[in-house]
Amino acid sequence: MALFKQATTFLGFSIPPHKKLTAAVKSVLSCRTAYFPAEFQKPITDQDVLKELEDSSEFENLKFQPFLPAPISLNSSVFYDEFKERFTRYVMKGGQKKLARELLEKTFYEIKKIQLKKYYEAETDSERNEIECNPLVILKNAIENCTPMLTVKKVSRGGSVYQVPVPVQEKKAEYLSIKWMLEAARDKGSRVHLPIKLSKELIDAHNGEGRVIKKKQDLHKLCEANRAYAHFRWS
């Protein structure tokens, strides 16, 4: 509440407490609470990048460059993957990150199990080479395949509400994709373990089929149907 008061005084006008905070106020709040100045750079953990930097002339400049403290999950492991880390956070419920990580590891186990079965059953080499067994690639590819390009936004004009097609921002699109994927994975019987369902959904999405892909296509169809309202976005 103290922060809220600070923000309102900074803006020079008071906001009635029953009103929601607008984006403008929120941005001010985040500025006011930022712990580190803007010139602080993100930490570099990739060993290859660090080696390259050491050889280059930039390294001298970086010696006096302040860096942000690294997040606790960030590390310089060769197995570290930023997207996997992000996906783990989406899987997580109630701060149980260890559980989320284990669930994702089990998902990878299941994916490998399914794909290797296909791999060893394939008869020719050309068939075999087409089968992707790397679970990380499947995860990334599946989420990318499910990412929507457009979405609809409710706009009221003349007393009626229209669903107006709008382009999705990169971050929001990825969020939607992961959200749909996990919704599909969690829609299961109580006896089915999450990794088993999630692995099947991921493999389906990797192959361009399944319910998550259908959900994305349905949204695109809605956007296509409502293209007549597109001008409401700016008018």
Partner: protein
């Protein structure tokens, strides 16, 4: 039509934006090279021929052998699943198994049995070393009394009833007949020996009698058919086998994974007074204990001790003296302790290469030097830990 075009062009624009993310960074297994990831395999499928030169190499057990020896127990479920995924059952030849096999070959059967106890931290490969040893014993026509997981009789049993034949004892029904089937399948060749006959009459009930001089298989068949008496059948069968081994009609090998579970804790079964039944009141557990004593000859005893086979309050040390308790220690004394330790450098390299060869370790960094170093650091070089790490990568 125009607006449709507009949507299409806009969407391709956003599509291109999306592709610029690191989502599409596809990694391949191009960095694998022949010399880096070659799995040392040996074509010698007979454990007798394995020497210290083969340590770190992998050998295949034939599917027939696996079916005969480990249909019921012996391989943990998670490892059995892996063998199905890998389309082969391959074991790494390691020092403890090789030395035990060597000792067994050189042991004198005219004296009380040699006892070999494998010990070490959890996840070092004791059970898989036992697998290797059992394979050797089966190849050499030993009669095998194998108990893969005695804990299940104490805590994960199917049914326990008060004994029909012994006062104050308790019998397993289904579990005991399953074990008899396991024994029959493992030893079906040896049991065809016509010399193996019963040495006394067995009156199971008033009407059901196994007379003296009938083949040993009749006891087994009776136990499988009448599970109420299966525990008693196991008791008498093992007594008979001990006698036969004493008189030199067969070579008897007793293999128990987790011997300490015979001596520690109590069963999860409650008697009529709601008290947990102690282990020395379970006929099935008691049946194995006489075989572990030194009062017979013509056999060999191989076992392992593990903290996970102990109760939760006795898991402080992995050493046999602590795990076996006083009773177990005094029964088994004297024995040869054999340490099963973590992977050596060579073995670790071999193990990682095996997982790469079977395409189980899919992360491309796993094949690199840094990746292997990291796996070794994270898992401490322990086989079980390495498998856990590799499962999720």
């Amino acid at each position: 039509m125009n607006s449709a075009k507009f949507i299409l062009s806009r969407s391709t624009y956003f599509r291109s934006c999306l592709c610029s993310k690191n989502l599409s960074s596809v990694v391949t297994l191009d960095c694998l090279t022949e010399s880096n990831t070659k799995v040392p395999r040996t074509s010698l499928n007979v454990p007798r021929e394995h020497t210290k030169n083969h340590i770190g190499m992998w050998y295949n057990i034939e599917p027939n052998m696996i079916k005969r020896l480990f249909t019921y127990e012996g391989i943990a479920p998670h490892l059995k699943e892996l063998t199905e995924i890998f389309r082969e059952t391959s074991i790494m030849i390691r020092e403890p198994a090789v030395s035990v096999i060597d000792y067994i070959q050189r042991s004198d059967l005219s004296v009380p049995p040699n006892k070999f106890i494998l010990y070490g931290k959890h996840g070092t490969g004791k059970s898989l070393s036992l697998l290797h040893i059992i394979h050797h014993l089966a190849e050499e026509n030993w009669a095998i009394v194998h108990c893969g997981y005695p804990v299940k009789w104490c805590t994960l049993f199917k049914e326990i009833l008060p004994s029909a034949t012994r006062e104050g004892y308790y019998d397993h029904t289904t579990d005991a007949s399953i074990w008899l089937q396991h024994f029959q399948l493992q030893n079906n060749i040896i049991l065809q020996n016509p010399e193996l006959v019963t040495m006394e009459d067995y009156h199971w009930t008033q009407r059901e009698i196994t007379p003296k001089g009938s083949p040993l298989t009749s006891i087994i068949d009776f136990g499988i058919g009448r599970s109420r008496y299966a525990s008693e059948c196991v008791f008498q069968l093992l007594k008979e086998l001990k006698q036969h081994a004493q008189e030199g009609r067969l070579k008897l090998a007793v293999v128990i994974d987790g011997i300490n579970s015979l001596y520690v804790g109590a069963s999860h079964y409650r008697d009529t007074n709601r008290n947990f039944v102690p282990l020395n009141k379970l006929t099935l557990i008691e049946a194995f204990k006489p075989l572990l004593r030194s009062d017979w000859k013509g056999g060999v005893i191989v076992g392992s001790v593990d903290i996970i086979m102990s109760t939760k309050d006795r898991r402080e040390s992995h050493l046999p003296r602590y795990l076996l308790t006083r009773e177990g220690w005094e029964t088994l004394d004297p024995f040869v302790p054999i340490l099963v330790d973590k992977y050596s450098e060579k073995e670790f390299e071999s193990a990682v290469n095996y997982y790469l060869d079977r395409r189980w370790l899919q992360h491309p960094a796993g094949a690199s030097k840094e990746g292997k170093e990291e796996l070794e650091f994270l898992g401490g070089g322990y086989p079980g830990e390495l498998l856990k790490l590799v499962n999720g990568r």
